[in-house]
């Protein structure tokens, strides 16, 4: 079938791609826009490695059709840091030693950022619920939970000042 032209926003930049409408957003990001920070771990919505924010909600980008993207707004891992200044979540994951192979980490950061954007003071249960769709095989998760907690604290402190 014919390709269609879709215009949407990625990390605050407007982009237009010509693509098959059934191409997953994941492939559009990685292949057409060369944003390879979003990872593919299963292609079936089961691992969370491809998580991005779509209109301020986390989704598995492997399950979104390109055809559904017109006018939408996407944030990927490449849009999380502010230039060279890391987001507090990124800093906390590094400081807590929560990064091992790193393959799940972009998805984890997106899910955690979404949580913190909506809930400045999440408890452990809320953190776990927000991250339940992001599988990690290396860390045992406990340093990831700590990192989300400590970054939440940091964000709250900087907001107070």
């Amino acid at each position: 079938m014919d390709k269609i032209e879709v215009t949407f926003t990625v990390n605050e930049k407007k982009v237009t791609v010509k693509t098959a409408p059934d191409k997953p957003l994941l492939d559009v990001l990685r292949e057409d826009l060369l944003l390879t920070g979003t990872k593919q771990g299963c292609r079936t919505g089961e691992c969370g490695a491809c998580t991005v924010l779509l209109d301020s909600k986390t989704v598995n980008s492997c399950l979104v059709f390109a055809g559904q993207m017109e006018g939408r707004e996407v944030v990927t891992i490449e849009g999380i840091a502010n230039g060279d200044k890391l987001h507090p979540l990124q800093e906390a994951l590094i400081e807590e030693g929560a990064v091992q192979c790193g393959f799940c980490i972009p998805g984890i950061i997106i899910s955690a950022k979404d949580l913190l954007d909506k809930n400045a003071e999440p408890d452990e249960k809320e953190i776990k619920e927000a991250l339940a769709g992001n599988l990690c095989r290396c860390t045992g998760y406990s340093k990831i939970v700590k990192a989300v907690q400590s970054s939440a604290e940091k964000i709250r402190e900087s907001a107070d000042n």
Binding site: M1, P24, T44, G45, T58, N60, L63, V64, A132, G133
Partner: protein
């Protein structure tokens, strides 16, 4: 490389026309099931109609009589966070939280979940005990089906090929009531349930206990089912003692006909039916009802 034609209608009439003209078309809402099925080549539609932008399929609202309407495109996240649902039917909100992961709940819709029709569908047992109604529409008109009449077989709905589910309606309950939902999966998150159960009582003078019970079971038959024998037993019982509730859970086993599959065995499903029904009943008996 798409092997199907993709349409994204912006009005309902446009959509209904497309459905009329393309009997093999598949509707695309959240895409969380459809995308996987197409990729696994379980289905190979010629036409996919993306209904995400049809505003008429959105919204959660309650009319003056207390009837609730949930648009078919409402996501599991939206339902589970809806103040209205949380207040009226918290067990249903909870059931929606058991669907997949946050990412899936943000995308997957109630319409998609009921049309997928998996006997393990998390939202279905609650909708069964709430006597929910499915509103359907095609080019020539509208119709309504009780949720329990919506399925013609495993993962097969009775919707016509040109019909679209527009909304789910939960009729108002007069007087007090209390519901509960329980399920068990292989892990504590993002897992398809091995068995599910929902139970509810509503005030009713015509039974000895003053309560009329409904119980629904999932993943123990080709579709979600009502545990009719167990309901009947409870509605005729003299009290709601622990003993009676346990007996009712035993009776529920007569209603279930589970199979062995990739997720677990029929024996274990029977164990779960007993335990989950018993616990649901205790949940609703040991706690006060809401009005």
């Amino acid at each position: 490389m798409a092997k199907f034609t993709y349409h994204a209608p912006v009005t309902m009439s446009e959509c209904l026309g497309m459905l009329r003209d393309n009997p093999g078309a598949k509707l695309l809402a959240g895409g969380t099931d459809l995308m996987v099925k197409i990729r696994d080549k379980l289905i190979q539609p010629d036409v996919v109609i993306d209904i995400k932008s049809l505003d008429e399929l959105k919204g959660i609202s309650m009319d003056d009589e207390g009837n609730i309407r949930i648009g078919a495109l409402e996501t599991h996240t939206e339902i589970s966070e809806s103040k209205l649902i949380l207040k009226k039917y918290p067990f249903f909100a909870q059931a929606c939280r058991w669907v997949g992961s946050m990412q899936i709940r943000n995308r997957g819709t109630i319409g998609g979940n009921i049309c997928n029709g998996s006997p393990a569908g998390e939202t279905l047992p609650s909708l069964y005990i709430l006597n929910a109604k499915v509103h359907l529409r095609n080019d020539s008109g509208k119709r309504v089906l009780p949720i329990s009449d919506f399925y013609c077989g495993p993962q097969k709905t009775c919707a016509y090929k040109d019909e679209i589910v527009t909304s789910i309606h939960i009729p108002a309950i007069k007087g007090k009531y209390k519901g509960a939902y329980r399920r068990q999966g292989r892990r504590n998150a993002v897992s398809i349930a091995m068995t599910t159960a929902a139970a509810m009582w509503r005030e009713d003078d015509s039974t000895p206990t003053g309560k009329r019970f409904s119980i629904a079971l999932g993943s123990v038959a080709p579709t979600v089912i009502m545990a009719k024998n167990a309901e009947e037993f409870l509605n005729g019982a003299a009290s709601c003692s622990n003993e009676i509730l346990e007996k009712a859970a035993m009776v529920a086993l007569e209603d279930a006909s589970p199979i062995n599959d990739i997720r677990t065995t029929s024996d274990y499903r029977n164990e779960l039916v007993y335990v989950l029904v018993k616990r649901c009943l205790k949940d609703i008996i040991c706690n006060k009802g809401v009005e």
